[in-house]
């Protein structure tokens, strides 16, 4: 493979076919050429490969658990780099019930968690996720939810008559943007489906800090009301030493519902699911999940889910 002379005119003109630096044929051997095409093809092959995960055949099966690394207090990486949080503790409790499995944890961004779940790199995903039909179709949904998220609703202090989504809708109040894919987003979407004539303007955002920013934005009037998980209000605004405690007096907060949160399994983890769901059920029934909820959220979230048959109920 030899090098074709460059074709620019303004330098000494190559058109007078001089010997290029690597002379024809004998310059770079055929082997180097084949080597380069092999590398290029390998990188293409990566894109199109399918995959199936095969559990290792040792006596205990290894379950790879992927969790959202920035989901404090549900799942996060603490300061010395170890997985921590409510859902991590739940899985550790499940591990005690199921000695035949051992669990390894991998902390990632939510996008990466589900990319890996889809490709079989992980078996179980802890993402504090809301249920949607598309998600249930895409992944294996265990029969028992892993937790409950309590739904908070707040406006500026002076909006005393606004207590529910329909009040906000009728008053034409503007809703702070919600991170795409978050449970609150679907709660509002579901409300809009049910109230076509009294809609709330729902905007999605990619900004993962949307809850924390909502407090300041509503207080200063950028938006009129917002939906946030309860623990954001409790730890940031309600708490005396909360980072945003200065907004406490400017806002009016109330709990307007609760939603089940789900963990998802990769499609080919049916065997594990058969053990996992009953273990979760047992932990729920014997109150372990409630204790863990108090430990991480300060309150027992399950008490707010009045009707356990529904995926979420709100006032």
């Amino acid at each position: 493979m030899s090098i074709k002379p460059t074709s620019n005119e303004n330098h000494a003109n190559w058109s007078k076919a001089t010997t290029p630096p690597f002379e024809g044929g004998k310059g770079i051997s055929r082997r180097a050429f084949i080597g380069t095409t092999a590398i290029a093809l390998a990188s293409f092959a990566l894109a199109g490969c399918g995959s199936e995960s095969s559990a290792s055949a040792s006596d205990t099966t290894t379950i790879t658990v992927a969790f959202v690394q920035g989901g404090n207090p549900t799942s996060y990486i603490d300061d010395d780099g170890n997985p921590a949080g409510y859902e991590i503790d739940v899985v550790n409790k499940v591990a005690e019930l199921l000695p035949q499995y051992n669990f390894t944890f991998a902390g990632l961004d939510q996008t990466a968690v589900f990319a890996g779940l889809g490709s079989g790199a992980y078996d179980l995903a802890l993402t504090n996720s809301f249920w949607t039909p598309e998600r249930a179709a895409n992944y294996l949904q265990p029969s028992q939810n892993i937790g409950v998220s309590v739904l908070g609703f707040f406006t500026r202090a002076d909006a005393t008559t606004i207590n529910t989504l329909s009040d906000a809708a009728t008053a034409k109040l503007s809703l702070a943007p919600i991170t795409a894919g978050d449970g609150n987003y679907y709660v509002v979407e579901d409300y809009n489906d049910k109230n076509p004539d009294n809609q709330i303007s729902l905007t999605a955002t990619d900004d993962s800090n949307s809850f924390t920013e909502a407090f300041g934005w509503v207080a200063e009037g950028r938006y009129d009301f917002a939906l946030v998980p309860l623990q954001y209000w409790d730890s940031l605004v309600l708490a005396e030493d909360g980072a945003l405690h200065q907004y406490y007096s400017a806002l009016r907060f109330s709990i307007i519902g609760a939603t089940k949160t789900w963990s998802f399994l990769s499609q080919d983890s049916t065997a594990f699911e058969a053990d996992y769901s009953p273990a979760l059920k047992q932990l729920k029934d014997d109150g372990t999940l409630s204790d863990l909820s108090v430990k991480w959220y300060g309150i027992d979230n399950f008490t707010y889910l009045t009707d356990d048959t529904e995926n979420y109920n709100y006032l």
């Binding site: 005119e9 894109a47 795409a180 905007t203 800090n209 200063e220």
Partner: protein, 239 residues
């Protein structure tokens, strides 16, 4: 890596609706950056006292810091700051009903200005200083000289690099969704979030950006050929 082509197609068709928004952001940001960038390059080249120091710091900051930080400063923090100022001084402007697309354009225009200022600096160095003197000798004012003589020549040599700048800008605008703007990426991500299967959404988006990039790349190749017509020798040797 499970990839379902039907999901990609679905994301592709729905995300197409975001193309006009993406193009609007790219077009307006690039135009603003083109003017500001060129002025900044001229200011730097002539070492205008205060202005050139400011523009050097601006260029260094914009090129040195990640764009998500710039987005955060302009979209998340600036409005609250301005509001506080307006309220204390009783200025009757309600900063909060500004359409987010203006924030996006502001962010991408400013970051693109820094990039184009560098491109034009290199291009201006390529233009022989005698050109401006010649322009003045035939009675043009300095600004006219720059506009009619220097800019076209600088443009001719800068076009290939400008082409890259535009294609990079198209990809960078995919971050507009963090300012809740429904561009190509925004629509695809909302769909991806519903099914929590982001890969198909991202591949669809990659496909759309690939098409846009190829269109712009060829457009710039044509522009380059036309603009460089004056540099080709008349009897270019038969290749």
């Amino acid at each position: 890596m499970k990839v379902s082509f039907s999901a990609i197609l679905a994301s592709f068709t729905s995300a197409l609706a975001g193309v006009p928004v993406t193009l609007k952001i790219v077009a307006v940001s690039f135009l603003v950056a083109f003017v500001l960038g060129f002025l900044m390059a001229v200011v730097n080249k002539n070492r205008v006292p205060v202005l050139s120091q400011i523009s050097k710091v601006f260029i260094s900051f914009m090129r040195g810091t990640p764009i998500i930080v710039q987005i955060f400063l302009i979209y998340n923090s600036l409005p609250s700051l301005l509001n506080a100022v307006f309220v204390t001084f009783g200025v009757p402007i309600d900063i909060f009903d500004v359409d987010p697309i203006f924030y996006a354009i502001a962010v991408f225009a400013l970051s693109e200005t820094a990039i184009l200022a560098e491109i034009f600096r290199a291009a201006l160095n390529g233009v022989d200083n005698g050109q401006l003197e010649a322009a003045e000798c035939v009675g043009l004012t300095i600004p006219q000289g720059y506009l009619h003589i220097i800019l076209p020549q600088a443009l001719a040599s800068a076009v290939p690099v400008l082409g890259n700048a535009v294609t990079d800008l198209i990809k960078t605008t995919s971050l507009a969704f963090s300012m809740s703007i429904l561009d190509v990426t925004g629509i695809a991500k909302i769909q991806g979030a519903a099914s929590l299967d982001y890969i198909d959404a991202y591949l669809a988006v990659a496909l759309i950006y690939l098409i846009l990039v190829l269109i712009f790349e060829n457009a710039f190749k044509l522009l380059e050929r036309r603009l460089n017509a004056h540099t080709q020798p008349l009897n270019a040797p038969a290749r």
